[in-house]
């Protein structure tokens, strides 16, 4: 390419930038309407955050893959320390706290741990000799990686984060080629353990969430309210929606968290399933990009990180959308690139930045000469 566009600009990962811009732009449109036709307080910040974090992601993409590999373990340790610090701060401050306020931005270590968990797992499998993949050697270190941060977040208590860690780790292990029997038996194990965890492991409010998910009509004005109102918003939107700025569920505050966790319902009310399909299609493109980055990466670390991070993003999308349409219990998981919120946007853009770096540096096959 040697047109009028300068080479550094032409070299930018335009495909993913376009996809993300479409999602963020549409998200900002929805947030603009949700604020009653105002950029304040959500839409403007949403766009600015994206632009800043996109610059950060592009900067990250300049880093070589080796850099991330070398940073993996230090990052993991740093976040562990931060999780302990957060816990101590909460202990001192009297109450649970999940973030550290750095003035310009609030850091949520449990959130940042999600992509780092993927890096750590990939780092481990990269170092694991191929013929040890069926052995116990392939398992116990993973357990160790998972256990420490999980314990720290569960006492916060943030059970959702622990599930996300396990999910990220599991996906990387799956892609790394761990025997299928592990996953099948884990699935069976979950099916058996789920009721036990439900009755003995969950706190009352967490139990309620699950019960209400199973039957929201039982408590339409209490905790089932979220699901009911979300379904009303989506259902009343129909095919083409009520039109931009005409969503009553969101504007009249019937839909709770209409700018964060339930932003998809806010969108669907005004844009209908047409808008919903647009978002789904953008996510499809994003996932396809992520997996293609993984496939095209020549290094095992790059492959596993790209695939793992793609699935981390997907985990957010899946939990949020299934919740919003009433197929999963209410969980405080935002919709990537659409929901208002700095913490999740930061995590997502960290994932994207690392994936961009992998796209830019596919590397060489082990044993191949570059």
């Amino acid at each position: 390419m040697n047109g009028i566009v300068p080479a550094p600009i032409a070299a930018l990962p335009w495909r993913v930038i376009f996809i993300l811009s479409a999602l963020v732009g549409f998200g900002a449109t929805v947030l603009y309407s949700a604020a009653g036709g105002n950029f304040e307080p959500w839409a403007g910040k949403h766009v600015i955050r994206f632009v800043v974090l996109l610059a950060m992601a592009i900067a990250m993409s300049r880093m070589k893959l080796e850099f991330w590999k070398s940073m993996t373990f230090p990052l993991y340790l740093l976040l562990l320390v931060l999780l302990v610090v957060v816990q101590l701060m909460g202990f001192v401050g009297g109450g649970s706290q999940r973030w550290i306020n750095l003035g310009i931005i609030t850091l949520q270590p449990s959130e940042l741990m999600k992509p780092v968990m993927v890096l750590a797992a990939a780092w481990f499998f990269d170092r694991l000799p191929p013929n040890r993949i069926y052995g116990f050697d392939a398992i116990w270190p993973l357990g160790a990686i998972l256990l420490l941060p999980s314990i720290l977040v569960i006492i916060q208590p943030d059970f959702d984060a622990a599930i996300a860690y396990a999910f990220g780790l599991g996906v990387v292990g799956f892609m790394a080629g761990l025997p299928l029997i592990y996953f099948i038996s884990a699935g069976v194990g979950v099916a058996v353990l789920a009721p036990l965890v439900f009755f003995f492991g969950l706190k009352a409010y967490q139990q309620d969430r699950v019960l209400i998910f199973l039957n929201p009509q039982n408590d339409p004005l209490g905790a089932g309210y979220h699901i009911t109102q979300s379904k009303i918003a989506i259902g009343s939107g129909g095919i083409f929606g009520k039109g931009f700025g005409n969503g009553t569920q969101s504007h009249l505050d019937y839909l709770p968290e209409g700018h964060t966790d339930f932003v998809f319902a806010t969108m669907a009310e005004e844009w209908g399933i047409v808008g919903g399909f647009f978002i789904l299609f953008m996510y499809y493109l994003l996932m396809r990009w992520g997996l293609s980055v993984a496939m095209q990466s020549k290094t095992r670390y790059g492959q596993l990180v790209a695939a793992g991070l793609t699935c981390t993003i997907f985990f957010y999308i899946m939990i949020n959308l299934l919740m919003v349409v009433g197929l999963a219990p209410v969980a405080g998981i935002p919709l990537p690139f659409v929901s208002h919120g700095g913490s999740s946007m930061l995590t997502m853009m960290l994932c994207v930045g690392i994936m961009m770096s992998i796209e830019r540096h596919p590397g060489a096959k082990r044993g191949q000469f570059q």
Partner: protein, 635 residues
């Protein structure tokens, strides 16, 4: 150690590719699930959710219909609706009852009697029934409550209409009052209108019996509200259809005058248009104030009404029954004329009439007296003698034909009809033969005879016009009443006798009208409350044992237009207590200024007009311990 399978990185690469494809497939499957679910909600269930979104968004408020007015025969208002601000409590939605009522009491400056009533009604009310806190509020008080609404769940401030009776207590028994729907009524008919704050139904009098006509159709106000209940904007509003107005035959000025003129007495004034049967006045005093009753009855107010021996809860015109005394003598005279008594025939009155070994006393010693003069002097001896001659079974039909003891189909919730006895009645009731002393007693309106003031007024009107008038309270075109079956010359004798009562040398000469060209004819009556015992003749002693004073009359004598009765409970005599009131009330028809002048002079001595007297009485009752009123005091 078992032998490990040899795995190369190439195999792992291959596994990665396959598994990545699998993961992509799972992602796509989940994406499709979401898409399918979303489509199902938004397309198949679209109607359902649209409706739900709409019912979220739109708040439907019922606008209680304005009640139909009551107006008098000239269109003057008797009961109207006043636009006002009101505050109610919906008990179901209350969170902190004590605190809410306390806050409201401060904001609205409620009296302790009001607070007490609110607490009592809250205790009795079913959760859905609104309990009125206050109405008729000014905008500032209303706004003070409105702005604190977020802290006062269950409190409902509204702009609406409340019933207003300009005449106050004067029309209480005639019109009745309104109140909130009782729990039983709502259980019977679960119409949400019934529990809308501000909606009232008739509880007594015409308000109750004409409910269907007065109620009207509720309107609906649609507003867009947020989840927190804040009104964003008004949508289409369907206005209420006010109830139909009811025009009564009442002349409200005359009625009010009569009610005021009754003063401190317990009694009633009924006036008919004797050509048509229209009820011009039906005043019964004392009475509750329907304005304050319609707001809910306070403990003190209830005690004040209930401890009054003048029984303010009773409509004396329709529900009071009295021995009519001498006021029935004109009816007896008509019967005597019909049965061949010559009006010029005289009976010698020596102060009484001997029947067997018993002497029936006359109030005077009248000497030889004919029919007209017997009426004038109210000579008992004449009526004993002539009554005995024709027998009471011959008199009773005439009394009945004049309306005494009769039922009339009027839209009042309860009327009492009294008794015109005869021998068959006595046999039926007591299984005893009619005696001659029964005849003597009944002929002068004592003994078994009891009638209502309303019937006495009909009698006066029928004698005056000779027309078989039927009483009517609702103004409408009616066929002219037919003539009564009495020869005009018989009526002339009776009317002449009644004329002499007032304008001759009769018992009510002091109540002669002082209007040039207009004369009133009448008949006094004094009815014993209990048998004369010893020297006590019902003219002194405890109020409740004194004689009733009655007076029936018509005017003008030469061309009768109005027939009336005035009954004063324990007034001691018709001439003394009742006739002067009749005089003033009839004067009002011809010369308002003169009538008002004499009324104002009287009221100065009574301690003010009705309203002022009730207010000072209420003040006197304040602070006394009082038991709460029953749920429905008039039933």
């Amino acid at each position: 150690m078992k032998v490990e399978k040899q795995v190369t990185s190439g195999q792992l690469d291959f596994t990665f590719t396959r598994r990545a494809a699998f993961v992509g497939g799972v992602q796509a499957a989940i994406g499709l699930t979401v898409a399918a679910r979303m489509s199902y909600i938004a397309v198949a269930d679209n109607e359902k959710y649209k409706l739900l979104a709409e019912s979220n968004r739109v708040n439907l408020t019922i606008i209680p219909p304005r009640r139909g007015w009551f107006v008098d025969r000239y269109g003057k208002p008797i009961a109207t609706n006043r636009a006002d601000f009101r505050v109610d409590i919906i008990p179901d939605r209350l969170v902190n009852k004590e605190q809410t009522v306390k806050t409201l009491a401060e904001l609205l400056a409620l009296s302790t009697d009001d607070v007490d009533r609110i607490h009592r009604e809250l205790k009795l009310a079913q959760g859905f029934q609104p309990v009125q806190v206050a109405d008729g509020l000014d905008y500032e008080r209303f706004a003070a409550v409105s702005v604190r609404l977020p802290d006062l769940p269950g409190v409902s401030p509204r702009q609406g209409y409340s019933r207003f009776y300009p005449s106050g207590a004067a029309v209480g028994h005639l019109i009745g009052y309104v109140g909130t729907v009782s729990a039983e009524e709502y259980q019977k008919n679960k119409n949400p209108l019934l529990i809308t704050p501000g909606f009232k139904v008739g509880k007594d009098g015409l308000e109750k019996t004409l409910e269907d006509r007065l109620q009207g159709e509720p309107g609906a106000k649609r507003t867009e509200v947020t989840a927190r209940g804040k009104i964003v904007r008004d949508l289409a509003t369907r206005p209420d259809i006010p109830g139909k107005p009811v025009q009564l035959t009442i002349d409200i000025d005359l009625h009010n005058y009569a009610a005021r003129r009754l003063g401190l007495e317990s009694g009633s004034v009924v006036i008919f248009d004797c050509l048509t049967g229209d009820i011009l006045t039906m005043a019964s005093m004392p009475c509750y104030d329907p304005n304050s009753f319609s707001d809910g009855i306070g403990r003190i107010e209830w005690k004040m009404l209930n401890s009054d021996d003048h029984i303010p809860m009773l409509n004396k015109a329709l529900q009071g029954l009295y021995p009519p005394g001498s006021t029935v003598k004109p009816a007896a005279a008509l019967a005597m004329l019909h049965h061949g008594v010559d009006p010029e025939e005289t009976v010698v009155c020596g102060g009484g009439y001997r029947l067997g070994n018993r002497v029936f006393k006359c109030l005077g010693r009248h000497g030889p007296i004919n029919m007209a003069d017997a009426l004038m002097k109210s000579c008992n001896t004449y009526f004993y003698a002539m009554g005995r001659r024709i027998g009471y079974d011959a008199i009773a039909p005439f009394s009945k034909a004049l309306g005494l003891g009769q039922e009339f189909p009027l839209p009042f919730p309860s009327q009492r009809y009294g008794t015109i006895p005869d021998s068959a009645w006595k046999m039926r009731k007591y299984d005893q033969k009619w005696s001659e002393s029964d005849t003597l007693n009944a002929t002068i309106g004592q003994g078994y005879v009891s009638v209502s003031p309303f019937q006495l007024a009909i009698m006066a009107a029928r004698i005056a016009s000779g027309l078989n008038i039927q009483p009517e309270i609702i103004l409408k075109k009616r066929p002219a009443p037919g003539r009564l079956n009495f020869p005009e010359e018989h009526l002339a004798v009776v009317r002449e006798g009644m004329n002499r009562v007032v304008n001759g040398d009769g018992t009510a000469v002091r109540s002669r009208l002082e209007i040039p060209g207009i004369a009133m004819a009448g008949k006094t009556g004094t009815a014993q409350v209990r048998r004369i015992a010893g020297s006590q003749r019902g003219q002194s002693g405890a109020w409740k044992y004194r004689d009733h004073g009655l007076f029936v009359c018509f005017a003008p004598v030469d061309n009768p237009r109005y027939g009336a009765s005035v009954v004063i409970e324990h007034g001691m005599g018709g001439a003394r207590a009742a006739a002067p009131i009749a005089k003033d009330v009839l004067t009002f028809l011809y010369d308002r200024e003169k009538a008002m002048a004499s009324l104002e002079a009287l009221e100065a001595g009574w301690g003010g007009n009705i309203e002022q007297r009730m207010a000072s009485k209420y003040a006197a009752f304040q602070g006394q311990p009082a038991a709460p009123p029953p749920l429905d005091p008039t039933t």
